[in-house]
């Protein structure tokens, strides 16, 4: 197996997760790690840096993995692309749409390099199954979806996520972006967006603790999102309504298991059942007890670099589109704060 000289910039939780996934894959020769906090680099048997630019310039890697805070992501991605590297970047793709467009511009100027963003949820088994079910046509076609993604967060804690200048947004950009990406994935591109973001509990926080969005495609398919930092228990629910059936994704398998069991339930429309009981169709539920999402994601990235495939999930276009949705929801917030009518 061909191995690619790799560096990881940012060794917080996501950097460590990507490090482990790349080790398991075997196609990445991790030569250096970088973090501005030296204590995060202790115990690794490779070169370490606290300056990302120096790390990339000195190591001259083929692959750069970007797991930094949101504010730094665009700088590292653009520099790595300009240095001729393939890049895997954590989500969100920067703090705002301008950041995403800047990275897209850098990518367009490259010579066939690969750029992939970590919209990891697309690789969860329930999401893979849902996509397969939809694509099979067994349940007709999607007409509506509603997603709820919530957690228990302390927005008063002193961390970069709670500073707009570093994070770019609150719960919508931090976590809701995954659900927005899935809504796009299942429903399609949205042409109309309306939304509300607010601080329902954490009144003094810069970042919002709640976001609601309503979205509609040109064909009239509708989706809603509720993103919450004040759910007080981790929760992931996505309902998809189709012309001939229904799919529900409940729970998400994570390392902490705090989002509950990951399940997919589906049923087919049955308006003329043998037992005469309308509204009680046979449900099929699949429960998953393995999370291989990090590995699937890395496989796709490796295959694209190696020329055995292309980036299907987490393309730069996905990044731009989802950041555009986020920005449109945030604009409604700005309008409201300025006393303008909420659209």
């Amino acid at each position: 197996m061909r191995t690619y000289k790799t560096v990881i910039i940012g060794m917080g939780r996501m950097g460590q997760t990507r490090f482990q996934a790349m080790k398991r894959h075997g196609g990445f020769d991790i030569q250096a790690l970088c973090d501005n906090l030296p204590e995060r680099l202790a115990g690794y048997e490779c070169c370490t840096y606290t300056d990302w630019k120096e790390c990339i310039a000195h190591e001259r890697p083929e692959v750069v993995v970007v797991c930094t805070i949101n504010a730094v992501i665009p700088d590292v991605v653009c520099f790595a692309l300009a240095s001729g590297c393939h890049v895997f970047s954590e989500k969100p793709p920067g703090r705002n749409l301008a950041d995403a467009l800047r990275m897209k511009q850098s990518y367009m100027a490259t010579q066939g390099q690969v750029l992939k963003f970590g919209f990891n949820h697309r690789y969860h088994n329930s999401v893979i199954e849902a996509k397969s079910l939809i694509d099979s046509g067994f349940l007709g076609h999607v007409v509506a979806a509603r997603g709820m993604y919530g957690k228990a967060a302390n927005l008063q804690r002193e961390e970069w996520r709670n500073h707009l200048e570093l994070a770019g947004g609150g719960i919508l950009l931090d976590q809701g972006i995954h659900m927005l990406d899935l809504l796009r994935y299942f429903v399609g591109d949205f042409s109309e967006v309306s939304g509300i973001t607010d601080n329902l509990v954490w009144k003094n926080s810069e970042a919002e603790d709640t976001a609601f969005a309503m979205l509609r495609t040109l064909e009239g398919k509708v989706a809603t999102l509720h993103s919450s930092a004040i759910q007080w228990k981790h929760k992931f629910d996505l309902d998809i309504v189709l012309t001939d059936g229904y799919i529900a994704l409940n729970g998400l398998l994570t390392s902490t298991k705090s989002y509950g069991e990951e399940r997919l339930t589906y049923y087919k429309k049955e308006l003329d059942p043998l037992d005469g009981k309308i509204g009680n169709p046979t449900e099929y539920t699949l429960c998953f007890d393995e999370d291989s999402s990090w590995d699937y994601e890395m496989n796709e990235f490796y295959d694209a670099i190696h020329g055995d495939g292309t980036i299907i999930n987490g393309t730069v276009e996905d990044a731009v589109q989802v950041m555009s949705l986020v920005e449109q929801v945030y604009k409604k917030r700005a309008n409201k704060k300025e006393g303008l009518q909420v659209g």
């Binding site: 067994f138 046979t282 998953f288």
Partner: protein, 325 residues
């Protein structure tokens, strides 16, 4: 492997898979055959999966001993291969099962189950083959005319071949390594050498093709609870009841990657309620569950069995390990 469970929000406590009069007649024919032909003396048998002397006595039915493998937890009957082969050719039983009246009542009772199976197959084949129309389907051991017809007219099926069946039906031929799907429903139970069956199936499948097994499993609630009292389990109709662990090992050892195990069985609680009699001899928990709780609890318990892969009927999807011939 993608390990998933599947269960259905539906109570099967009033459901039956076969007309009781036909079931009694069928059992009578089978029992007469076994009692007249089974030879007990000097019989020994290794676990069909582990291949070792790992079996421990579990129960005896109609004079045939059943062992439980201490390694893989599969259950198997102590009998000779010749006796089983001869049983599978037993004309009285074949005539009974292929009679018009038997087939008609089976179609009546099982049409809904077959329809659900084919819908499930449509979904799963798209998941693993990215295609669910006009597939080449080899069907091993199917003995129900209604089921064969349902498969043949299903949009999944483009070309169909029936193998190893008592049914006298002319079907097409699917060449070597040309099958998209090999169906193997209720076949393992009479397999003396399951490895041989898997070798034949491997020959038929395309490299990316799917093996779909439907099987009664030895780790199921009704099997372990009822033992010889289970009116639906008998020699030589059931000489091999692999556990989920056993099936996994069997497939791996014979060049298959297990993609999915679905615990599709919905009848465990119903079977135990039917056959346990006064529940004497059952352990305290099972007695309390069956005698003192209500239908809601029993339904939830059945759901728990399915979700935990402890129901006695599973569906397995496997694919040839990459690089295997």
């Amino acid at each position: 492997m993608l390990r998933s469970y599947q269960y259905t929000e539906k109570s099967y406590l009033d459901y039956s898979m076969q007309d009781s009069a036909f079931q009694a007649k069928e059992m009578d024919i089978v029992q007469r055959y076994v009692k007249n032909n089974h030879k007990r003396d000097d019989l020994r048998r290794d676990c069909p999966i582990c291949g070792e002397d790992t079996g421990r006595y579990f129960f005896t039915k109609w004079g045939v001993d059943y062992l439980l493998c201490k390694k893989c937890k599969s259950i198997f009957a102590v009998c000779s291969q010749e006796d089983v082969e001869s049983y599978l050719r037993y004309q009285e039983l074949i005539d009974f099962r292929t009679s018009v009246s038997y087939e008609r009542q089976m179609t009546e009772k099982r049409q809904a189950v077959w329809k659900e199976f084919l819908e499930w197959l449509e979904v799963r084949s798209f998941r693993f083959l990215h295609k669910n129309h006009d597939l080449h389907v080899v069907d091993v051991g199917n003995r129900f005319v209604g089921f064969v017809e349902s498969i043949k007219v299903s949009p999944i099926c483009g070309k169909y071949e029936l193998r190893n069946s008592d049914l006298k039906m002319e079907t097409g031929k699917i060449g070597r390594q040309a099958a998209d799907i090999v169906l193997c429903n209720d076949v393992l139970k009479t397999e003396y050498q399951p490895q041989k069956l898997l070798t034949e199936i491997k020959e038929s499948l395309k490299p990316t093709g799917l093996l779909v097994i439907g099987a009664r499993v030895g780790n199921g609630f009704d099997i372990l609870t009822l033992k010889e009292k289970n009116t639906r389990i008998c020699p030589y109709e059931h000489i091999f009841l692999p556990s989920v662990k056993g099936i996994s090992k069997l497939l791996k050892d014979n060049g298959f990657d297990l993609l999915e195990i679905t615990s599709a069985g919905v009848m465990d609680v119903k079977y135990v309620l039917d056959d346990a009699g006064d529940f004497e001899g059952q352990d305290g928990f099972v007695q309390y569950l069956l005698k003192e709780t209500d239908e809601t609890v029993l339904h939830e318990f059945q759901r728990f069995l399915q979700k935990s892969c402890m129901s006695s009927y599973v569906r397995v999807i496997a694919r040839k390990t990459k690089g295997m011939p």
